[in-house]
Symmetry: C2
Subunit: 205 residues, 2 copies
């Protein structure tokens, strides 16, 4: 009989955990997830299903699962999606198999979701650990949003953004951690997220 | 007005936190604390008051505060100690000033305590974060205890030790984290504790 058995040692999070990286648009969720993918830690990154045409640099099964609209509607009908949205005529959604298969394999699951999606996940998987990314300053956040708006040829109303973030922060009760993703400090953000993941595995239940 | 003020941003643990490293005798608490002291992170390590004669390698104010018995009894009378014990004719105890002064300075406070002391601290400082160190196997733990017993010329009754640890584990409800301190893996233990400290500073309150 091992020491663990003798002292009834089943107190650590030995199983796989589910982490959600969320935060307001423009905070840098994509860059953080991309940087996490380059780390040697063994995570399963959730891949979203999408019905739009792949962009030249996008790889099937790595960036997205590219499926037909008929296939996607079938997935909706069969309740195969954790959450989904219909944006600009295309569907986008998270297949349940992406989460459940990965957790069963023993790997931690990481996913990137907007605040609404994070709420949805928490209601479906109450043990999910939700990390909220925050911009370090309004100026920096504005700069990032304006940059993206230029790329997309749209406008940025910072007042609306800040109001929206206030609303999102009001729901922060469902989030477990907050990490400031400061400009030029991506490595720091990633280290903090990895520390949170390590700590969660040592939490007593 | 900063973004932080606009969105009512006071959600992170910006203040200093109090961490307690605890666990059964022989698990290696001293080695872990010594290794943490060598890290560049800015902690305040709690120093215990002691009435015994300093050993040749012990430094006043670094290893212990060496005080007279009369002084120590004065400290007890004035309620200046968080906890204290009378062992082999000498007093040993943790001055409150060690904790409160350090927290006020903004540095995280780290202390090493046995399970009884950890309980006491949690009752006095409910926000203290308690980390329980565990041996990785009975064989390794036995080896460490026997080594110490040889040094001290005493015997080790492993059955009693294991019974005591079972009792201690029954109180694990008061502990927040458990970390296995495996032989030859001190660096791993220290990294995990540092990750826990980082994570705790990003926890939402």
């Amino acid at each position: 009989m091992t020491l663990a058995e003798k002292v009834n040692f089943h107190i650590l999070h030995e199983g796989a955990l589910l982490f959600v990286i969320s935060g307001p648009s423009g905070v840098g969720k994509d860059s953080v997830v991309k940087a996490l993918k380059r780390r040697p830690a063994k995570f399963h990154f959730v891949i979203t299903a999408n019905t739009r045409v792949p962009r030249p640099d996008e790889v099937e099964g790595v960036d997205y699962f590219f499926v037909s609209k008929a296939h996607f509607e079938e997935m909706i009908k069969n309740n195969e999606l954790v959450e989904w949205a219909h944006v600009y005529g295309d569907y986008k959604g998270v297949p349940k198999s992406q989460i459940e298969g990965a957790l069963a394999s023993g790997k931690d699951v990481l996913m990137r979701l907007d605040v609404q999606g994070a709420k949805k996940i928490k209601s479906l998987y109450p043990s999910a650990i939700l990390i909220f990314l925050l911009p370090s300053s309004e100026e920096e956040w504005r700069r990032r949003l304006e940059e993206r708006a230029r790329e997309q040829g749209t406008d940025v109303d910072m007042d609306i953004r800040i109001e929206k973030m206030k609303e999102e922060l009001a729901t922060l009760g469902i989030f477990d951690y907050a990490v400031i993703n400061a400009d030029g400090q991506l490595n720091q953000t990633v280290e903090t997220i990895l520390a949170i993941i390590t700590a969660e595995h040592h939490k007593l239940v």
